[in-house]
């Protein structure tokens, strides 16, 4: 026989064996799940998607919850509040993380597609901090100035117009913003820009962390991102006053809980209908002190003041 013919025969045999092994692997998987260290309970998977602001908290929740309940796997992904809520309205995920309210049309769509009413849980709070480069001498800013810097038609384009002399002669304000599917973007637009559009020409970053990183390396930059993304020593958080003339409030856990700090928002989880079974257990656990400690550790604001310090 031709040697390479024999070779090709053995090759095709190998392919058949390999695909058989693959089918075996796929078929066997559920059994190995049942016999894993779950104490006889069947394995459950919870799909969780949404806000980039909440993705790090959600990840630690999943990590910690797995230690307590090994038979529950929580799959966490980001993409933005809009992405998570869109997936929820199509019924493809169990939990949507959102750092903005679900819009009425999204709720209607969810009802139409799945027949279930989305249910909202407040799981913590986030304060949006305004970040500038560490060498920028500015220490506080008011609501109207922020609108003038970021909103379309706003007058302020130079640091000197805010009465600030920036080192390195970068007088032009470099605006750092977020991509439009982000809940942070929506929240800032609604609550700081009074629903006006953003000025064109901002740097739109894909993640909360990237905003802080760009600001840290750009001396003329100003950006907004979650309180939890602060990198002390690289960037500076500005005190914000709700109106010119009123005292400026430093962003912190305490000022968010007392509702003094003006740019704060709830962190939300949406389910389709009333959660049951493992899903309910998971949400209940998030609301306990153990789950809230994760919120605080990640730099956000837990639901109750006086949550025991880690």
């Amino acid at each position: 026989m031709h040697p390479s013919l024999a070779l090709s025969r053995s090759f095709f045999a190998a392919v058949i064996v390999a695909s058989g092994a693959l089918a075996f692997l796929a078929g066997c998987k559920p059994k190995s799940g049942d016999t894993s260290a779950s104490g006889g309970k069947s394995r459950t998977t919870i799909q969780n998607k949404g806000s980039d602001t909440m993705v790090n908290v959600a990840q630690v929740w999943a990590e910690d919850y797995k230690k307590l309940h090994p038979h529950v796997d929580v799959e966490v992904s980001g993409g933005g509040s809009g992405v998570g809520l869109a997936a929820l309205t199509k019924g493809t995920i169990d939990l949507a993380n959102a750092s903005r309210d679900m819009k009425a049309e999204e709720k209607a769509l969810a009802k139409k597609n799945t027949g279930k009413e989305p249910k909202e849980f407040v799981v913590g709070f986030d304060a949006l901090a305004v970040y500038v480069h560490k060498d920028n001498p500015i220490t506080e800013i008011n609501h109207a100035q922020l609108t003038d810097i970021f909103a379309e038609g706003g007058k302020i384009t130079k640091w000197s117009e805010l009465g600030v002399k920036v080192p390195a002669a970068h007088d032009l304000i470099i605006r750092v913003s977020r991509q439009s599917s982000s809940g942070t973007y929506e929240f800032f637009r609604e609550h700081v820009l009074s629903k006006k559009d953003f000025k064109l020409g901002s740097r739109d970053m894909n993640g909360s962390k990237e905003v802080v990183e760009l600001v840290a390396t750009t001396s003329g930059a100003i950006g907004y991102s979650g309180l939890g993304y602060n990198e002390p020593g690289k960037v500076k958080m500005l005190k914000v006053s709700p109106k010119a003339g009123e005292p400026a409030i430093a962003p912190s856990v305490a000022t968010t809980l007392s509702k003094q700090y003006p740019i704060a928002r709830p962190l939300l989880i949406y389910t389709l209908g009333e959660p049951t079974g493992e899903l309910k257990n998971y949400i209940d656990w998030i609301l306990t002190d153990a789950g809230q400690k994760v919120v605080e550790k990640s730099g956000y604001v837990p639901l109750r003041a006086g949550t025991p310090k880690p």
Binding site: S4, V15, K29, Q59, A62, E63, V76, G79
Partner: protein, 302 residues
């Protein structure tokens, strides 16, 4: 032969000297350009390995990410990438190879086959983000696979299919036509010819084409991010079969993206070490492809 020194064989006129100078210059310019290709590669690999050094050990491969993905290893992402690559190629390789055999061995030049050809060429040019959206619409929503390893693998399979078809056709076309004619002349059918002559003689090229798609499937982020790869999933350390096929998984490319853009306070060496592992995976696969080809070539009979 008369052993005159080279310099005295010809008379060196100024024109000859100028010609030789230009020749030397041209050679050096071309050589420098070729060498410049190597520089970025060495810089990238060198920089990555140096920055990654504190994390590069077996423990990093086997351990799961810890403390909000700021510490620990990459096991769930590594195994997830292997799942995606193997399942996607298990789907796309048989379909791609059989389609290429049809196109190269059976297809006549008529409108139907021209349409197929056009489709293959165009599919190869579709950007990966468009494949991602297609996968989301077709597999996640329409076929109701949900966000899952199946959806992500099928999306990758569709993405790698046209390249597998193209490389397989090329391998088949490199088998001389006279081989086939000799076979037909003794009364063999086309299928007998394919089985006995064409495939055995083109198997090295076919395999190389398929294996090279491993690196593409392992490196893509967009198609899997839309269809079945998550930011985080908790998995046991060193678990070889951590995922059901209808669940989502982690993957190296996506993990690299998220820990470098989304997670604050990651140990600085971890993103670099993840990149090194991804790079090493691709290099190992490519080296396998090359050695396989060299081995099979050495058995070629013409």
């Amino acid at each position: 032969m008369n052993a005159l020194p080279a310099s005295s064989r010809f008379t060196e006129t100024p024109a000859v000297r100028r010609k030789l100078r230009q020749e030397a210059l041209a050679k050096w310019i071309f050589c420098a350009m070729a060498a410049a290709m190597v520089v970025p590669l060495l810089l990238i690999v060198g920089y990555l390995v140096v920055r990654a050094a504190p994390s590069l050990n077996l423990e990093f491969l086997l351990e799961v990410p810890k403390r909000g993905m700021t510490e620990g290893g990459i096991w769930p992402a590594l195994i997830g990438t292997l799942y995606l690559v193997f399942i996607s190629l298990a789907v796309s390789a048989p379909i791609g190879i059989l389609a290429a055999v049809y196109l190269n061995e059976y297809a006549r030049d008529n409108w139907f086959n021209r349409v197929i050809n056009l489709a293959v060429i165009n599919l190869a040019g579709v950007p990966s983000i468009v494949h991602a959206l297609f996968g989301l619409g077709a597999f996640v929503y329409a076929a109701r696979f949900g966000y899952s390893i199946i959806s992500a693998s099928l999306t990758l399979a569709i993405m790698t299919l046209p390249v597998i078809i193209a490389s397989t056709r090329e391998a088949l076309a490199s088998v001389p036509r006279s081989f086939r004619e000799a076979c037909w002349n003794v009364g063999a059918t086309r299928w007998q010819t394919i089985k006995a002559i064409v495939l055995p003689n083109s198997i090295s090229g076919i395999l190389t084409g398929v294996i090279l798609q491993v690196s593409r499937a392992a490196g893509e982020t967009a198609p899997v991010m839309f269809t079945g790869v998550v930011f985080f999933k908790s998995v046991e350390r060193g678990d070889l079969l951590p995922y059901y096929l209808n669940e989502q998984c982690m993957a190296l490319s996506m993990h690299l993206y998220t820990i470098s853009t989304q997670v604050p306070g990651v140990q600085p060496s971890i993103p670099f070490a993840t990149a090194v592992v991804l790079l090493a995976l691709v290099v190992i696969v490519n080296a396998t492809a090359i050695s396989l080809r060299v081995y099979l070539r050495s058995r070629k009979k013409w």
